[in-house]
Symmetry: C2
Subunit: 387 residues, 2 copies
Amino acid sequence: MEKVKIGIIGVGNMGRSHAHKLSNGEVNGAVLTAVCDASVEKLDWIRTNLPEEIQLFQDEDDFLNNADIDAIVIATPHYFHPPTAMKAFEKGLHVMLEKPAGTYTKNVQEMNEAAEKSGLIFSMMYNQRTNPLYQKLRDMILSGELGEIKRTNWIITDWYRSQSYYDSSEWRATWKGEGGGVLLNQAPHQLDLWQWTTGLMPKKVRAFISYGKYHDIEVEDDVTAYVEYENGATGVFITSTGEAPGTNRFEITGDRGKIVVENNKLVFYRLTESEREFNATSTTGFGRPECWEIEIPVKGDYTGHLGVLQNWINAILNGSPLLAPGTEGIKGLEISNAIYLSAWLDQTVELPIDAELYYQKLQEKIDQSTFQKKEAANVTLNVENSH
Amino acid sequence: MEKVKIGIIGVGNMGRSHAHKLSNGEVNGAVLTAVCDASVEKLDWIRTNLPEEIQLFQDEDDFLNNADIDAIVIATPHYFHPPTAMKAFEKGLHVMLEKPAGTYTKNVQEMNEAAEKSGLIFSMMYNQRTNPLYQKLRDMILSGELGEIKRTNWIITDWYRSQSYYDSSEWRATWKGEGGGVLLNQAPHQLDLWQWTTGLMPKKVRAFISYGKYHDIEVEDDVTAYVEYENGATGVFITSTGEAPGTNRFEITGDRGKIVVENNKLVFYRLTESEREFNATSTTGFGRPECWEIEIPVKGDYTGHLGVLQNWINAILNGSPLLAPGTEGIKGLEISNAIYLSAWLDQTVELPIDAELYYQKLQEKIDQSTFQKKEAANVTLNVENSH
């Protein structure tokens, strides 16, 4: 294959952004050959603004069966992610999946099994994994530089959205359309990085959620989750779309000190000895282990969506390793589902959660919804500086 | 009264520090005239190191009845605080009480009633209320500069203590001796400032506690508490004595922006308009209200223990207002008790908590304790740079 022929399904905010990159030739070894969207208006936009040789489809099956494509980018609303990916694997198409992997783990597990069976190249659009800050953080933790982890704390409240954002599409911020709010739309990046950089999945989750606290929506826009890990470490994850200015501060404490990622800096408060060792041997009462504050140099560029697309194309063409294997999308989603389930049951839940129970509870949310969107502008928003 | 004659009861770490200040004449209008401690060794130390005219007592009643004093400083282990204060009020003595006000609110409420009835000058040793950072923070919040509060978040994990600290006294870090760990010994300052600076008491608390996680102790050294306020705001308070280096970062988000107190700086991220107003009127989808990052100038010195002692003496001599009225000690203790109770019951608790239930549960902890201290050095530690 000289160039990978790409089809995009779903050309809302994100899909349109990917279409631009691909049709501009920004991704080496890839060419945009087809687009699918149920909206005539959106297809018209593609016809007007992108090269005319791009095939347009309104129907998904027609697209998957008849488009001249080797691989697809899925950028539809969340519920469609696993079913479309599974169809694509059946057709022998490589898949790049926008986050989240899905809305519930039950069918994401099935998608992962289908992906593994297919042998096709399946990647998640976890663009923030290309951020050198988090790559360096991960290297430092997994190499043991920080020692055994004691606590994680991520305040990620800088996902501010005004009401106009929620009014921009009918499916947005509804149980039926998105299956959730900030946890499924904005925070999936950090939910992934939380586990990816530390190498730790929570064992227990106790979460507190507010629905439509800052916006006229039925889903959550404010979340506090407390977690416990297998080794006894604890963690807190806080996210919201209702705070301005928000905070993005990730702190991880270990036996050898503390790392704080904030304001595009990675600062390591490095102990010159193990805290556990100091604790056992010090005779000073109020003494503390010696600590060096070090701003860790972080090299490389944040390549974002383009970097993940290129990584995926390289994997297809050359078999190089994926930065964000598609099957890892379930990890962040598992945490996200656990957070909802804990809040809905008003109790602590253990991971892995009961996927069937979660699915049932989500269906209840959809079935019992009485929320009426006042108006949906159905406009496409510019996401260039927002994700 | 020309000079207020002060007696100190309890000359462990803190009491000895206060004795030094008073006998050195550092507190205007006050003179140290008597000391009481059950330990002969500690009285010997006073005799050797402080002026010989200071009267020494081993028995509390003897001290309260016969010492030549107008006022007392109580720096005994926590359980003795309310009973001794109540006896002092009966004798017509003004009281300065070391934190915490007590170990459970039941008798602290009685103490407060006795104090109010007595008309005597009753102050809490909340030395951190003299910190201009928190005074300025309080001014900004109570004057409405930050707008209605949405979230509070205090990570106060820089109370590091090694095992040697806990081994320094038999009563330390036992249910019987202290009635708790980091929440009763180290964090009371921040529990007080959390409510004092914001003017908000939590309405509900859900907390998670680990006992002897980092030390050979029976009480807690690791705490995460989630709270909800009457207005719907939420908060998180995290404290530990097992992390090095710890963090002391207090973030408060409101309708008009965010304030962060960290590293002895008060930074105000000030919105030029109300977020609620922006949310309702913006049409930009991803837009955010304009925000100015301002380092707020903070004037004045942190006068600490000396400042609180002087404030108390001034109130006695001149009737000037107290910075830390003794009856306010119950507020931080109420939060502390609620955190324990939530963890013990493994459920959310509402404030004010059931004081009788808390007392019973605490007695159970004491009665069921099987913990044996390996060794207690019973040494006096230098606290000059530690509180």
